[in-house]
Symmetry: C2
Subunit: 416 residues, 2 copies
Amino acid sequence: MKREIGIVGAGVGGLHLALYLQKHGVDATIITDREPHEYRHSRLLNTVAHHHVTIAREDYLGIDHWSKPELFYAYHDHYFNFPQPLHFRGDFTKPSRAVDYRIYLPVLMEEFMKRGGRIEYRRVDEVDIPVLAARFELLVVSTGKGGFGQIFPYRPELTPFSQPQRRLCVGLYNGVRQTNPMSVTLSVSPGHGEMIVIPTVTFDGIATALLMENVPGGDLEELATLDYAQDRKHFLRTLLAKLERHHPTTFDRIDPAQFDLAQEQDLLQGGVVPTVRNTTAEFADGKCAIALGDVHSVVDPMMGQGANMASYAAFVLGEEIVKGDALDVRFCEKVDLRRQDRVLAASRWTNMMLAPPSPALGMLLGTMGQNKLLADEFTENFNYPEVQWDRISTPQRIQAWIDRTSAPHEQRIAAA
Amino acid sequence: MKREIGIVGAGVGGLHLALYLQKHGVDATIITDREPHEYRHSRLLNTVAHHHVTIAREDYLGIDHWSKPELFYAYHDHYFNFPQPLHFRGDFTKPSRAVDYRIYLPVLMEEFMKRGGRIEYRRVDEVDIPVLAARFELLVVSTGKGGFGQIFPYRPELTPFSQPQRRLCVGLYNGVRQTNPMSVTLSVSPGHGEMIVIPTVTFDGIATALLMENVPGGDLEELATLDYAQDRKHFLRTLLAKLERHHPTTFDRIDPAQFDLAQEQDLLQGGVVPTVRNTTAEFADGKCAIALGDVHSVVDPMMGQGANMASYAAFVLGEEIVKGDALDVRFCEKVDLRRQDRVLAASRWTNMMLAPPSPALGMLLGTMGQNKLLADEFTENFNYPEVQWDRISTPQRIQAWIDRTSAPHEQRIAAA
């Protein structure tokens, strides 16, 4: 039977799904309100790193536009700005890569169309969903925009927060020296916030994303509202002073003479309320809409999980569509059963890192400073959030992980 | 780390789990109120067929006491007592077998003890659970007896019925001729009830279980309260008359001169309320109790799923215990994620068969009468209730299944 799938939204989830279905001979129609050419001059969308499990999915889809080794980063550099600073490195088994989504998304859209895919350009609101569901065999809703609270209600039992936990100030900057090989820095200023420093493929070569996760009430909070357009020099001067105080190892990599946004629109300020929603809506004749990506679970960007989860869930959904009989409620239930552990673990892990650290989490971080195996596993688990959650969800699990990775080599082999 | 697992209950779930853990070097203690020798003269416990996936688990555990080919049955014989009767056969890929649990359970208990296992004999009530949970690293609650409604509350959203849907009259009889090879008959008297006829290994060779599932208000209902002990002849006479009218193909296999219960205690009358419960309870220090088998999901015996699901879930739980870090709430969540689709599908499928048949289900049964491939798949799916549910959960899925199995051979291959 020839299937026709509707996909609302052209983010990474919708596009990976569309390309997956296309590769398997399933008709997919993307519906989005933004044409490829509109991305070039738009405001920064986000800062997104793709971990190697996501890059493997891109390889599978034949999206190999950014495969040069010098575009990848190899490890996480952790810095905790204590009076006695904590500084350690964790290596991935395979490198990660960040590409500005104003480049990435249009390239995937063009690729989809070049291969015969269909994109309709129009705005979709919640009220349009039942009509669209009737048109397709299955409707996938994968746009972060718009409210879908009626169709996919919140699950408050999975959503501990009702407010953003960080005030974000995210920019793409020139004037930050890269490490060699490139790396991502996770810099923590206790009580004030975290900063994720990501070498990013931009319109003009590699620039540096500073994803500043500022604690409400802390010394960095004002960066989330500081107005670059109004007073560029004041913005940069204030930012540099804050970096010097709170994130000194990154400050040391900055050439103040060169330091500025890569483009004036490369700044994004705001905050995210972590939310999880029901994923399935049934309409007339048993037709269903299923949530994918941010519509299912929105995470704070701190742990870099949102896009990777959307891509992961897109493949789970794609695989099930290709092999499924009927794309009905039972189908959606099975998709959820397969994807929920990883997707929800990304949310739980991120939410744990947003809360004040427990003594056990503090001990874990301290131990990573002296235990490379532990730091490497923690880093590699950015690919496998459900494994991260297995390791850190309770103090007992954290202790067991420390014990295992601290044991002499022979015992580790025996325990593995 | 040496683990110690407590298992309340010595049914098939608890025993398969205990033997699995023992095989993998994990200490398990069974707590039950009945010693092996007490089974010999007890009332009939149930009528249970083990399908080949369960028999494969028994092989794995080395419980090969009933491996002679003549103890197995090869197919299901379906008879619908319409004015124009519907009669068809469905074959398993591998045979099934039923053993009287008054033989089966004590043999497994003895085997467990012979291999070094520990059984404590005492009654356990709900109030004892927190104390037991504190004693073990994980407490598994797998006894159908007693109320555990506080610790494992009902999930009414998964429990459509609050009353038994059939009035059961279950007996082990002599005087019923077996088919050659042996088979199970599923005989349906529309509006009055179903009867499952199961060749069963008993204390005295093969006898025949008549599992009579009588519809409340139907002509067979009175069998659920007819008193054998008070008037044996009246009981047998009444039963034979009902069988002749409602289940004639089985009646034809009966020699009235020989027809009687194999032993006077081989009769069980009553009913089952299908229920599903929460499975995880957390106590002090994060210690957990997890429900297994009937405590998790009780099904009406019509589809023969209860024991097979308990064994299946026991192996899932055993595998996770052997490989798990901490036996905590996160652990229980992962066990549930793995087992729930099959366990809940058995409940949903059985509940669907208890309800008045939909037009689509009627069509499926009618089509099976002319489509051996369909009947064989339906029969084989007694091993895989989640696949059965994929096939029959909606009219559209039923139609798709009929279409696929009715297509010419070449198309079926292409569609597979």
